[in-house]
Amino acid sequence: MTAILRIESRKRVRGSVILLAVFAVLSALYFSMFPGVQEEMDVLEDAFPGFMFELFGIEELHTIEGFIAAEIYSFFWILLVGIYFAYVSAGLIAGDIQDRSMDLTLSNPVSRESVVLQKLGALWVPLVALNVGVALIVYVSALAIGESFNPVALAMVHLLSVPYLLVCAGIGLVLSVGIDHVRSARAAALGAVIVLWLVEGVSSLDPDYEWIGAAAPTRYYDQTAILVHEEYALFDAGVLLVGFLALIALAVALFVRRDI
């Protein structure tokens, strides 16, 4: 019984293509900019206070790895794609309940658990499209301007972001199951991803408060460490996966108990 997965996957194609196009444009912009600004990056690093760089996890801006980690991954990937996953997930259940299509879906011989999991499963489309697409765009763009990436590090920056994006989706899904109005659920999901990102960024500036950020998913994904230092935090990725599974279990438990 994969009818729901199929139809939901189709619905994810458009958003994935649009996001991929956005990243293609962004990459073209930053890669064409890099040769010109490379020399000035030292000046930039001196000009801004250190906490700005810590907040975004930025290092080694004069290298292509540091520059792309800062410009594309630390902001657009973590925040924009994270928000996309949370936002889409927040609409999965609440949207169907609101427009009453959930009535028809659940009149079929399909369990509520299966409905949630198939709808969530359809996120494989943006997950694969963006991770493969953006990795290729970045790799080819670097070659085009005469730079090069370590392909393993580039693959890892995407691979290890998958658990992070899944946690964002999990947050959205729980909100989608718990909040009746799709707009409220989406707004809450968007807000949650931004707030968690901010809390983690700010808390990491002060060792006394660093523990607060441990609850935020961005703590467990460090694009600069991967790209610049080639450090792959597999344990942190595991923490994210466990968090994702816990969120899914919570969403399913809430959904099978609630009235539609």
Binding site: A3, R100, D103, L104, L106, V110, S111
Partner: protein, 312 residues
């Protein structure tokens, strides 16, 4: 039922009813959307579930489909207890459902929507149904008129040849011609053995197609009877315009109730045969006659003695 037979009834015997409601209750705060509703729908009948808007019809249907959880009581659908999610999910393979609001995937074409439902539960009767009900299959559902949406809904509800079809206000949005077609289709389906549970707020529609009727008001089942019994009680709303005033003693017959005779206008509910009424009326100098179905609220007021002081 006497006390002696009650003990036998509670024994676990094979339940032949297609739907059985057993004290089904759904409470929202202080509002009893369904208040200990009890009735059974037998195999191969068209059961009309009649009540004014907001009476609790849709709540019952959503409880039966497992979309809502009962506050108290329970029901069985094709033998599956609605509180047993797994059993109910399996039973749904043999249930068709036409909701009051049809939430289709708007961007898909009608054909793609049917493909989707076909994958979920089968479509052995799709082509046959599309000869009767013809939504524009190659257009996206978002461009559909209300009537086309409903026709697509009817096709998806019947195309897997279910044993039971639950329909929530099925004729709303259909023009009279298509309403008739649906009514005839439902009778054929009933004759072929399908059980149909049919909610409506239109008395005449229920009178026309249903074998038995349950009437719900303010969440309570107020009547459960065959259509013949309902017709006897139902009567017609009649307004007669006369050329000159008449003698009430002569004009009013035993079949007329709630008569209001003011000047040259007579209003009453007629409980006999319409032909007899017409034969009676030709004796008078009648300028205009209007014979119609009584408002559902009138039926309740006159025949079920329910007072609705507490709710509007």
């Amino acid at each position: 039922m006497s006390g002696q037979t009650a003990a036998h009834e509670t024994e676990p015997t094979a339940d032949t009813a297609t739907i059985r409601l057993d004290g089904l209750t759904k409470q929202y705060g202080d509002v009893m959307a369904n208040d200990a509703v009890i009735f059974a729908v037998e195999p191969g009948e068209i059961f009309g579930y009649l009540g004014p808007n907001g009476a609790g019809k849709t709540t019952t249907i959503r409880l039966l489909l497992g979309l809502l959880k009962p506050t108290a009581g329970t029901a069985t659908v094709l033998g599956a207890d609605i509180r047993d999610r797994r059993a109910l999910t399996q039973a749904k393979a043999n249930v068709g459902y036409l909701p009051d609001t049809l939430g289709f995937e708007e961007r898909l074409t009608g054909r793609e929507v049917l493909e989707y439902f076909a994958r979920l539960r089968g479509d052995e009767r799709r082509d046959e149904l599309l000869e009767l009900f013809r939504p524009p299959l190659d257009k996206p559902v978002e461009t559909y008129s209300h009537g086309n949406r409903r026709m697509l809904g009817i096709v998806q509800a019947f195309m897997h040849d279910p044993d039971l079809v639950i329909m929530d206000e099925p004729t709303s949005g259909l023009d009279p011609l298509k309403q008739d077609r649906l009514h005839r289709f439902l009778e054929d389906e009933r004759d072929a053995g399908t059980t149909i549970f049919f909610s409506s707020h239109v008395l005449s529609e229920v009178q026309r197609v249903c074998d038995r009727v349950g009437i719900i008001r303010d969440g309570e089942l107020v009547a459960l009877e065959t259509i013949e019994e309902l017709l006897e009680r139902g009567g017609k709303d009649v307004r007669v315009q006369l050329a000159r005033p008449v003698d009430p003693d002569q004009f009013v017959t035993a079949e007329m109730i709630d008569v209001e005779l003011v000047d040259r206008t007579a209003r009453f509910t007629y409980t006999g045969e319409v032909i007899e009424l017409l034969e009676h009326l030709v004796q008078y100098d009648v300028t205009d006659v209007d014979i119609g179905d009584p408002q559902l609220d009138e039926v309740f007021k006159h025949y079920y003695g329910t007072d609705s002081q507490e709710t509007g």
